[in-house]
Subunit: 130 residues, 2 copies
């Protein structure tokens, strides 16, 4: 189980400007995803959720990023506006349960394995390689 | 001109495992890019440069990321192992000269405009949108 402390200092960024291909809905897919996440992320075991105007991953909507002090930052794309919310929250829970943000590959939700866009080391936890 | 303070707290992450398509060199393209950057980034006006084992942007080698407290983090791909070093350092200098990391679009090097993979808000400078 993810610890609450891990989730309390974890931020989930959601691109609100992502527009799904061929989707002509007035409310953009990214904005709908943000609403779905906020609706489903309730109680103490929820990350902070922030809407962001463009994560610059425009070719792979919907897009989110997760960051936390001392942990790697991950960016994920190809997420469904409605169906992905529960999966994302599960994945973030696993992330928050680690010390460095690296969830073992096989334990990651399939949407995270396939949708990973980038990962960036923690600013406060250098991992320099020679 | 970028201020030195801006560069001193800026980190340039370089993926050392990036392998250029069709490149059979023993030393991977990402590792060559890291060497080129370290060679050219000299003096006070240089960011901290860290090699990283995989930024998870494997389809768009070479890849770098730039991060700094209070500024957006940017990830760039499609960079040439040898030819891009100077351009990257120029772009990082412009980044370090801003307060939030957002360089006006027209001022960005073309390699950054075309190669942007993702951007992530500063952890310490929330930018929530409704």
């Amino acid at each position: 189980m993810p610890d609450e402390a891990g989730l309390n200092d974890t931020i989930l960024y959601v691109c609100t400007t992502c527009r799904a291909e061929g989707d002509t809905s007035e409310t953009r897919a990214g904005t709908r995803l943000l609403a779905a996440l906020r609706e489903q992320a309730t109680g103490a075991g929820a990350p902070r959720i922030e809407g962001v105007e463009c994560l610059s991953v425009c070719k792979r909507p919907c897009t989110v990023a997760v960051a936390s002090p001392g942990r790697w930052t991950y960016v994920y794309g190809d997420l469904d506006a409605e169906a992905s919310a529960r999966t994302i929250l599960t994945g973030i829970g696993l992330y928050a349960g680690t010390s460095d943000g690296i969830v073992p590959w096989r334990e990651r939700p399939e949407a995270f394995r396939k949708g990973v866009v980038a990962r960036i080391p923690s600013f406060t936890n250098p991992t320099d390689t020679p």
